[in-house]
């Protein structure tokens, strides 16, 4: 070894061993033809977009290798080349219009899952990367949302349901991007933003209709995803429409990725939803939601329900961590067994009692709701838009008003009010109490406190507010929570005190 090394001491380039070693790197594996083809198509799409197909005048000047740096050079060449350049330019444009963009054009009609689909999305990405102002961006995203919608339709037509979910999510994402762009635009040019928002609203209602129309032809699991997209689409148009937002506090009784049920109301959870904390079933939360055209609620923000600071209720607050689990159990059992049986609720209560008093109250709360079945309670704040003898519209939500409705204060259209309702079996909402948001009655205030103190009290509150329907809840509830539930019994419905005495 050393001999050879010595011999080639001054010329490693001639060392055969070294050359042989380097030669080991020479062979490379054959390329995957599919990848090569795809990458080439992507490149050609980028050529179309970046170098231009001539459709956008602002891009024409970019059809050059480089910008001239020296003016002198330019001037010197000018007279001679001007005509030639013009000619070249014209030829080039014909060429561009003629053949370029064929790949992209072919890709335009591709659907998710197709071989050319990546070309289409790359093309879109590149277009997006070229837009710099929010106005254009909003429009582009809107047109991309339309694209996705067309694709969903195409996929459904071809029975390719496996891609519908992705595409729905993509659709939703585009809508969000529109909203984001509009928000940015609104800072600079509110008038234009307003204009585009109106356009967006129109488009969205068309989209919503289109999506809803597709629902019937979908398998169940795909349906959920499309419904979610519908909610996203509905909510997007309302991003600045304060009048159509509501706020309410309630207990979570069911949770899926798409929607939660809070206070008996289904609330859509979309990607814009800000969830401030981690919640489980049985938790009390404050929901800030938007009301869609069909009364669909879409959560904007979900916060923990903040205690107001009542010292009596400290114990309850401490016990919160346990409650979640128990609440779950109770819900399940109640549903499985029989809602009407009070004994059941007590059983649950007792079992839970061993661990923690508070838990029982959750159980009760759940039962209240179960027993009320279709009379779920719902509280919200909103703006009065219409007052008719038997029907009011508050923040887009129609509630029916009867002689039993307690009207608190002199309420007129435009006022902010708090509304306590019961959902009737026919889907209408019966207003139990409507009161002006500020300066409400004492009763109402007490209820407020109750609702924000903790899970337990809230549950009883709800029961009592509904009035007359809550006898059952208190049977079991009375055993445990003592003072705190009594506090709350002053709600409009009343009637709790007796039960507690049990």
């Amino acid at each position: 070894m050393n001999e050879i090394n010595d011999k080639n001491q001054n010329n490693p380039e001639k060392d055969p061993r070294l050359l042989k070693l380097i030669g080991l790197l020479r062979p490379t594996p054959p390329r995957d033809p599919q990848t090569v083809k795809q990458n080439r198509a992507r490149y050609m799409a980028q050529v179309d977009v970046l170098i231009g197909t001539g459709e956008d005048p602002s891009q024409k000047k970019k059809v050059y290798w480089f910008q001239p740096k020296e003016k002198t050079n330019m001037n010197r060449l000018k007279p001679r080349f001007a005509l030639t350049a013009l000619f070249v330019m014209a030829t080039l444009l014909v060429f561009l219009f003629g053949s370029a963009g064929l790949t992209v054009y072919a890709a335009q009609s591709s659907l998710p899952g197709d071989a050319l689909y990546p070309v289409k999305t790359t093309f879109e990405q590149t277009r997006l990367s070229l837009t710099s102002d929010a106005d254009q961006e909003a429009q582009l995203h809107l047109s991309l949302a339309q694209q996705r919608l067309d694709e969903i339709q195409g996929l459904i037509k071809e029975g390719r349901f496996d891609q519908v979910g992705n595409t729905s999510a993509e659709f939703e994402r585009q809508i969000q991007q529109v909203v984001e762009a509009l928000k940015r635009l609104a800072e600079k040019d509110p008038a234009r933003a307003g204009e585009l928002t109106t356009q967006l609203m129109t488009e969205l209602s068309t989209y919503t209709k289109a999506l809803t129309g597709m629902l019937s032809s979908l398998p169940e699991d795909v349906k959920v995803e499309v419904e979610h997209a519908i909610a996203g689409s509905e909510s997007a148009g309302l991003w600045e429409d304060e009048a159509k937002q509501v706020e309410f506090t309630g207990e979570i009784s069911s949770m899926t990725a798409e929607s939660w049920t809070i206070s008996g109301r289904q609330v859509m959870i979309v990607s814009q939803t800000e969830i401030k904390g981690s919640f489980g079933m049985g938790d009390m939360v404050k929901v800030h939601a938007m009301v869609g055209p069909n009364g669909v609620l879409t959560a904007l923000e979900i916060d923990p329900s903040v205690p107001v600071g009542n010292s009596n209720d400290n114990q309850n607050v401490n016990a919160n961590s346990n409650e979640n689990e128990n609440a779950n159990t109770n819900v399940n059992e109640n549903i499985n067994e029989n809602v009407n049986e009070n004994e059941n609720s007590n059983d649950n209560g007792n079992a839970n009692l061993n661990e923690n008093e508070n838990e029982n109250e959750n159980a009760n709360a759940n039962e209240n709701e179960s027993e009320l079945t279709n009379q779920d309670k719902f509280e919200f704040k909103g703006t009065v838009q219409t007052i008719l003898p038997d029907m009011w519209v508050i923040s887009g939500i129609t509630v029916s008003v009867s002689s039993t409705t307690v009207l608190n204060g002199d309420i007129a259209v435009g006022d902010s009010v708090e509304v306590y309702t019961a959902n009737l079996s026919d889907g209408t909402m019966q207003a139990l109490v409507i009161k002006l948001e500020d300066g409400g009655s004492n009763n109402a205030n007490e209820n407020d406190h109750g609702s924000s103190i903790g899970n337990d009290n809230q549950s009883n509150d709800n029961g009592s507010e509904i009035g007359g329907t809550d006898g059952n809840s208190n049977d079991s509830g009375g055993e445990h929570d003592g003072g705190s539930s009594n506090d709350n019994s002053g709600g409009p419905g009343g009637g709790n005190e007796n039960d507690h005495d049990d």
């Binding site: 490693p12 080991l24 790197l25 390329r31 050609m44 000047k61 050059y64 290798w65 001007a82 080039l92």
Partner: protein
């Protein structure tokens, strides 16, 4: 005004450029990366950067081949900033080809990895010289044009690169 000073570039030219250089760029990237998918990604990204540069008027003025190979190399350098370089000393007994328990192809594969590791430890310019001269068989003139250096300087660079490789690959056994 700009018509006169710059060359319009047709899409056909860009398509041809891709056809012409994509295979070589892939080989180049693969030899440094040792991974097919990464190499494809690198080539793809290189052409994308190239097009953006052309659009922004900072594309290559005359030698687009040089530009493309440089971009590939920069991509590889960026990659190895995030990922550790492959280890140089795999098994010192292997590099002389004295296989003991290992089959010949495995031994060869390990040896190849070692050469790759050694190559990656050269300077960027040295790596280019080695690859283009010895593995892509470019002439001294072509390599010089690639590096933007004189032929003499390129030769000197090549000499130093080979010395460094010899040190890493052949002199370890003597210690």
């Amino acid at each position: 005004m700009i018509f006169t000073a710059v060359r319009p570039i047709s899409q056909q030219v860009l398509a041809d450029l891709y056809e012409e250089h994509s295979p070589g760029l892939f080989r180049y990237a693969y030899r440094l990366l040792g991974d097919q998918d990464l190499a494809e990604e690198c080539v793809s990204e290189t052409f994308s950067r190239f097009l953006h540069a052309v659009r922004d008027g900072r594309g290559p003025k005359d030698n687009s081949r040089a530009y493309l190979y440089r971009t590939v190399h920069n991509w590889v350098i960026d990659h190895y900033r995030r990922e550790p370089l492959p280890p140089l000393s795999l098994d010192d007994d292997l590099h002389t080809g004295e296989q003991e328990n290992v089959s010949q192809s495995v031994a060869k594969g390990m040896l190849r990895e070692k050469v790759r590791a050694a190559l990656l430890r050269l300077s960027a310019e040295q790596q280019q010289v080695i690859q283009l001269r010895f593995l892509e068989d470019w002439s001294h003139e072509e390599v010089a044009a690639q590096l933007g250096k004189s032929i003499e300087a390129t030769r000197a660079l090549q000499h130093r690169a080979m010395e460094a490789l010899r040190r890493m690959l052949l002199e370890t056994e003597e210690e």
